[in-house]
Symmetry: C2
Subunit: 341 residues, 2 copies
């Protein structure tokens, strides 16, 4: 089967986005803010949004199951406060859970965390536990910059993150490193902040000993790893010089998706990063929704680019399309096996 | 001939670095700060630093001339104040000028600007003019984030930059977009901040109409363009969607160097970016100084990676190694012609 490790519920009804806007507006006046029940999205609305969106594209493009999480940009941890972040995470995760109940063969849930600038990452543990233990989520998205593009917090190797990592290890769920919207005019969200975050966090991991403390902690770096595979030689050299160890030591814990929207990029990724560390992903329907006028194909139809990588063996393709996702997300594997897959 | 468009005087004597540290320490107490003349570096010290460093490597690796500028990290515009930034730019540029006087066939000068957080970019114009008009500099390094990794300023499409662009256009000099050190613990300097800046600025240009206002303004984006060529399809799609124009419209004004430290990266760069927009660069002696244990070669010997790109024609190689640099830096071309080259 073909597992897409990177999808967000980007096609939510406008009412859902409007609810969030109001919630933020009344962040410090909750008595007059919108009521939780008004964020409700009906089954029909979900079927409309998914059926004409991600589900249709799964079928057209030939993938089987998407790891599905709330919209990344709409996590907007920099807005509101810790209370609104928690309420919004719960509402967003519950909605994603309902998608995966309506379409259990097509979507498996990944949760948003109730992060907020300055809030202790430990405070995200209860929502992570609720999602994984009560609702069957298989992973989480972890925002390395809740400040939304100003990076006023601490690197992900800092001990303030450790309580969250302890819970992830105990629950055996990985995190996709994924920032939300950028409120910094210097950094466009999907055009700069997303890729920069991937690059910065990889470097934070390179220069730390985090995986000595957490040998089974696993991170998926999305968007093809930001700039990292393109600069693989730079990182190999820096790891040897700064840390006196080969870069490849990170590869027990760090994985990359294939959200790179042209063939030469995907080919480079699969050439320089070991096949065991690459997970198929498309992030559809996401940052780039149009078609390449040169080919008529959708930019984010990354399966086409992978299929055209002639150097990949059948075994490589199995790993990238299915095997690695089952290994990195063991709760996904268990969920699939429980459904006879 | 082979022109390396990206080199910094990274091998300055320790005394020069120490002077800067003291200058910053006494930034608000200049009467007790170090005297300008104490920053002096002798000709013998220059010969020692360059002769055993960049000049030796030029000869060993087979390049002829390097566009040479002050150390990027040591520009540290975020430290001190506008007064110290100006003094330090003058001192650093004068030192680079002396290098190019001692070795006129091997180095051509590129200047540092006296930027400072919150200071108007217009204030950098006098030092740019001094360097270009009085000392024969052929280009400048322009820091898009004088805050050193917090990005508290404005995008490079903002009108506050226009007086500087007007001077660049009048003087017919390009700028290499180059941040200095990062003081943000989330962003390692050469491992994250440098590449992120390249990516963010490219996106700032993509989403603006800057080159309508300045059709002859030219930027070189270093480090192979950060994440950009690896994500060329993403940017092609975003340009079509957001701006309703092809990405390739930027290519009259935006150029990339080849500071990518492995063969697959350089091959991707030369495959997706038109040959007219790629300038040979190595940034030696810089971020990655060691050898690849797999090959025994230096990571930053980027000429080897280019030479191994079998798809490049002789004409392509001429452009990348020489022709594009002469075209993007017309004052370099004039300087070379004046020396019969």
């Amino acid at each position: 089967m073909i597992i897409d490790c990177h999808g967000h519920f980007t096609t939510v009804p406008a009412s859902f986005r409007n609810w969030r806007a109001k919630q933020v507006e009344y962040a410090n006046d909750p008595a007059n803010g919108p009521k939780r029940e008004d964020a409700f999205v009906s089954d029909d609305e979900i079927r409309e949004a998914i059926g004409n969106g991600q589900l249709r594209l799964q079928r057209e493009r030939g993938s089987d199951l998407t790891l599905f999480s709330p919209i990344a940009g709409l996590m907007s941890h920099h807005l509101g406060n810790e209370r609104t972040s928690l309420e919004w995470a719960q509402i967003s995760n519950d909605l994603v859970h309902r998608v995966t109940q309506l379409y259990p063969d097509n979507f498996a849930p990944v949760c948003q965390l109730p992060q907020s600038p300055g809030a202790a990452p430990a405070n995200s543990v209860p929502e992570l536990r609720r999602c994984v233990e009560e609702l069957g989520f298989v992973g989480c998205n972890l925002n390395p910059d809740p400040s939304g593009g100003y990076w006023t917090g601490r690197p992900m190797s800092d001990r303030e993150w450790y309580p969250l990592y302890e819970a992830m290890v105990e629950l055996d769920v990985p995190a996709m490193i994924h920032v939300a919207a950028s409120c910094n005019p210097c950094h466009h969200g999907t055009g700069a902040h997303y890729l920069n975050a991937d690059t910065s966090v990889f470097m934070q991991l390179l220069q730390s000993n985090l995986f000595k403390d957490f040998p089974t902690l696993r991170f998926v770096i999305p968007h093809g790893g930001g700039a990292v595979p393109y600069h693989w030689g730079r990182y190999r050299g820096m790891s040897l010089e700064m840390m006196e160890r080969p870069l490849e030591g990170l590869l027990n814990n760090v994985f990359f998706d294939t959200c790179v929207y042209h063939h030469p990029g995907v080919e480079l990724l699969t050439k320089v990063v070991p096949t065991d560390n690459v997970l198929f992903g498309s992030e559809m329907i996401g940052a780039v929704r149009g078609r390449d006028p040169n080919t008529g194909e959708y930019f984010d139809d990354t399966k086409k680019y992978l299929d055209a990588c002639s150097a990949l063996s059948g075994e490589d393709r199995y790993k990238i399309y299915e095997g690695n996702a089952r290994r990195v997300y063991p709760r996904l594997d268990a969920r699939l096996k429980a459904r006879g897959k």
